[in-house]
């Protein structure tokens, strides 16, 4: 996702209408949004999450921070004073169409439009665009990996498909979890806000007329379906629970899941695998294989006691193209509190040894809890690899979600095929004997004393 000036950009700054005086009609809130906010970010976790807020930056006490958390879910309906419209402008009614809640699927592209730093230099920053996908949804609380900066709170987020309908407003542009920048933006879906506005406007003298003007939730004007087809590959991501540890995994066959060794390290141990789509199920399984700690390939293979019914099985890729649009699906950030999150980016590097890909890097946002999850090619849906880690600088403690490392599926596929067809683990055991050049490539993964360590 990147910030790009909108089409109206002129050399030497944007042309702007002069500022127009406005009046506050209502302050609006969506209780469902705020309860999801409190569920996912509130209570004892509050101390882990930090948010950029629209209020001037000042030291806040714990209580004020709790207040700030609750205040995050408030929006305002304004009326601009008449006068100053350009000729002909008055004749135009709706400025936007609004997508119904739930109309946009996880993984579908979104476009955020906001003005970093608000009204501070609008000739430079007005309506700056940022692209991403719908990463997750919990009721009206939506998440996108489109990058937004302070000042874009309240900016619109639009569906990228045919009608460009308004989907949500930016609620919290930046959030940090335990001082790690998450790279996800919190959004509030617009339909519940407009419903709250219509109900509240009845309390104002001319409220009914104003309520009638508000944009309704519509499909595409020409009857085209608005709902994005959900990319099938989102459903193959599963959550793997091993004792008190959890991570992500990918279903390769109805009873075969691949994850990371550091998620399920002990062979023969029992694990519980959760799948959310097509329905929420939890199935017991066993670790049939896990690479050694010393292996550069951080991989474990799970055999389930029942089929994962209805879960689409991914098609393993055979080639990799740097620059390809990719998506990562995993249970990072929210774990079991939400279904899997989708983040998007590009395949930023394919590292090879003797012309064989042994490491993939992407610009997707990858967080703790995502390891073991699938990396897909967005255009084809093919499975490219298994996410193993993001990057952490042990000197500063900073984590870089958008620089992460995956194991190419081509490294695993022959051995997985052999195991599926014959039950023979021989091919998988070979992963413990990777050549020295491969170890060198993955050296940041292994725990070395006093050097940079990269692990989720």
């Amino acid at each position: 996702a990147s910030l790009e000036p909108g089409p109206a950009a002129q050399p030497g700054g944007r042309l702007l209408e002069p500022p127009r005086a406005a009046e506050l009609l209502l302050l609006l809130s969506c209780p469902a949004f705020r309860s999801q906010l409190a569920r996912l970010f509130g209570s004892k976790r509050a101390e882990q999450w930090r948010f950029a807020s629209a209020a001037p930056v000042e030291e806040v006490s714990g209580d004020e921070e709790e207040d700030q958390l609750r205040g995050l879910g408030w929006f305002a309906l304004l009326r601009v004073q008449p006068g100053g419209e350009a000729k002909g402008e008055a004749a135009r009614g709706l400025a936007v169409t609004v997508a119904p809640l739930g109309a946009v699927a996880k993984g579908a592209p979104l476009l955020a439009c906001g003005s970093p730093f608000g009204a501070f230099c609008p000739d430079i920053f007005l309506n700056t665009l940022s692209r991403g996908v719908l990463s997750n949804a919990a009721g009206p609380l939506l998440l996108t990996d489109a990058r937004c900066l302070p000042g874009t709170e309240g900016g619109g987020v639009f569906s990228a498909r045919s009608v460009g309908a308004l989907v949500a407003l930016v609620a919290v542009p930046l959030c940090w979890k335990a001082s790690e920048w998450v790279g996800l933006t919190l959004l509030c879906a617009v339909p519940p806000l407009l419903r709250a506005a219509r109900a509240a406007l009845t309390h104002l003298p001319d409220g009914a007329a104003l309520a009638a003007l508000l944009p309704p939730e519509v499909g595409a004007p020409r009857g085209l379906p608005l709902r994005d087809p959900r990319p099938p590959w989102v459903a193959s991501a599963v959550l793997v629970e091993f004792g008190s540890v959890w991570g992500s995994g990918v279903a390769m066959a109805p009873r075969l899941v691949v994850t990371c060794r550091h998620v399920a390290p002990r062979e023969a141990a029992k694990v519980l695998v959760h799948s959310a789509t097509p329905k929420s199920v939890a199935i017991w399984g066993r670790v049939v294989f896990a690479t050694q700690e010393t292996s550069p390939y951080d991989i474990a293979v799970l055999s389930l006691e029942e089929d994962l019914d209805g879960v689409p099985m991914p098609v393993p890729a055979e080639h990799f193209q740097e620059g390809t649009a990719v998506s990562v699906v995993g249970f990072g950030v929210f774990g079991q509190a939400c279904g899997p999150s989708v983040t998007s980016g590009i395949l930023s590097a394919v590292v090879q040894v003797d012309d064989t890909p042994v490491m993939l890097q992407t610009t997707c946002a990858v967080h703790g809890g995502s390891s073991g999850g699938p990396l897909f090619s967005s255009p084809s849906g093919d499975l490219l690899g298994i996410v193993a880690s993001n990057t952490r600088d042990n000197n500063t403690g900073a984590t870089y979600p958008h620089l992460n490392f995956s194991i190419p599926i081509t490294v695993l596929q022959p051995a997985l095929q052999q195991y599926r067809q014959t039950g023979d683990l021989g091919g998988l055991r070979e992963l413990d004997h990777a050549t020295k050049p491969v170890r060198v490539v993955w050296r940041l993964q292994c725990p070395l004393p006093m050097t940079l360590r990269s692990k989720l």
Partner: protein, 110 residues
């Protein structure tokens, strides 16, 4: 940005705006601002973030905490609240330039 983004880029550019809130008696205190979306053109109704109104709430931010409140009336904010909305050019309108912002922000050379 590619054909698939055409309608949403147009919609965003047409609907995007910035909202600033300041105190009538203390313009020198500066302003709070955020982004917003123009919902309708006539009258111009705008939806924006509520965070910039917190400093103006008569009852302080505590007024925002009741869990099931869905709205607060306009008079929850003090009378000294002044609001301005600014947007880009819309069809056929001519527009002037914004005054220059304060030099508090600069692009840092890498």
């Amino acid at each position: 940005m590619g054909r698939q983004w055409g309608p949403s880029v147009r919609a965003a550019a047409q609907a995007g705006c910035v909202v600033s809130a300041s105190r009538a008696e203390q313009p020198e205190a500066g302003f709070w601002s955020c982004s917003g979306v123009i919902l309708t053109r006539s009258p111009v109704l705008v939806l924006c973030h509520g965070g910039i109104f917190t400093p103006f709430l008569r009852g302080g931010s505590g007024a925002l905490t009741s869990a099931d409140a869905t709205f607060l009336p306009a008079d929850s904010c003090g009378d000294d609240l002044r609001l301005h909305v600014q947007w880009g050019p819309t069809a056929a309108s001519s527009a002037g330039r914004a005054e220059q912002g304060r030099p508090g922000l600069c692009t840092s050379r890498c």
